[in-house]
């Protein structure tokens, strides 16, 4: 996530709208950095032998890093780094280091929260074109200009 997300004009928002797709690849270097920032020492995120001993092909991308990718998708779309109200996720399959990930979202409904417009979106992170890694939903505040 950028400290200053790209300002994208959301414009009109309607159910069915697709959010601009995000592509991310968490390398082993990424996982090291996230392990420090998030302070996780779980070996399956950096020790390939430990990951394989647990039955995985490689070190696993940290679930909370996938959450950050979802937040990046949403904040780039709205242009507001603080638009997130809720984020609910289910980890479907592991993502491994160096696997290209595609982060997508779609508007489910438009609503209101404390007088502000909101959008509830479905979220899906996939690898290998269409293999689901994570599915979820999020609710975000929409900018005032989106009406």
């Amino acid at each position: 996530m950028s400290a200053v997300p790209e300002r994208t004009a959301v414009g009109e928002v309607a159910p069915g709208d697709a959010l601009p797709v995000l592509h991310r690849t968490a390398t082993r270097l990424t996982l090291f950095l996230f392990g420090v920032a998030y302070w996780t020492s779980h070996r399956i995120h950096y020790d390939v032998e430990a990951a394989r001993a647990e039955g995985f092909d490689d070190v696993l991308v940290t679930a909370n890093l996938l959450s950050a990718y979802n937040v990046e998708l949403l904040t780039r779309w709205t242009g507001d780094p603080y638009c997130l109200l809720t984020l609910e996720e289910r980890n479907v399959a592991p993502a491994f280091a160096d696997e290209p990930l595609t982060v997508t979202g779609r508007v489910l409904e438009v609503g209101a929260h404390n007088g502000a417009r909101t959008a509830r979106c479905s979220l899906l992170i996939t690898k290998n074109h269409d293999m689901a890694v994570l599915s979820g939903t999020a609710t975000v505040l929409l900018p005032h200009t989106a009406s």
């Binding site: 200053v4 070996r43 950050a68 780094p81 609910e88 996720e89």
Partner: protein, 163 residues
């Protein structure tokens, strides 16, 4: 998570008795610019841009999910299990190898540089299932995060799968 993390999952009656109760509390150190820069660098952002859009005199805010990273306890190496996990992940009395099952974040307010967060974790439920590769135990906890003013800034529900 119990000390024996190399065998299959196990749940004790003691663990089941904790459902609905507070199982952990933690008070963070003051949130620093350094922590926020590290989080941004790790998530693909630009650490050098932290605070550049913040007007003088205004507090510098962290990304929405940073609250969770800020409240990860720092423990000594000899307190970690052989798989690197915290010995206190999940709930006492549930053991096994772990992986993430799902999560729910609710964001109510911003976390600012200098904030001290207090997290209170409650055990919501323990669910035992038979997976395709063996038994699984799903432990779900809900954590509330308050800042030093007592304001609820976030809630986080996490399900950890013990294998």
């Amino acid at each position: 998570m119990g000390a024996n993390s190399s065998t299959g999952p196990a749940v004790t009656d003691e663990a089941r008795a904790l459902i609905g109760s507070v199982t952990a509390t933690y008070r963070s150190d003051p949130v620093s610019m350094r922590q926020i820069r590290e989080y941004l660098a790790a998530t693909g952002g630009r650490p050098e841009l932290v605070g550049v859009d913040t007007p003088p005199g205004e507090p510098i805010c962290a990304p929405p999910l940073f609250f969770h990273a800020a409240c990860r306890p720092v423990v000594a190496q000899d307190e970690l299990l052989s798989d690197g996990q915290y010995s206190f992940l999940g709930v006492p009395g549930v053991s096994g190898r772990t992986m993430a099952g799902g999560s729910k974040y609710e964001v109510f307010g911003r976390v600012r540089v200098g904030d001290v967060l207090t997290v209170t974790e409650r055990l919501q439920r323990i669910t035992e299932k038979q997976g395709t590769k063996g038994p699984l135990v799903f432990v779900t906890t809900e954590s509330s995060y308050h800042n030093q003013a007592g304001e609820l800034v976030a809630r986080y529900e996490q399900t950890v799968i013990f294998r």
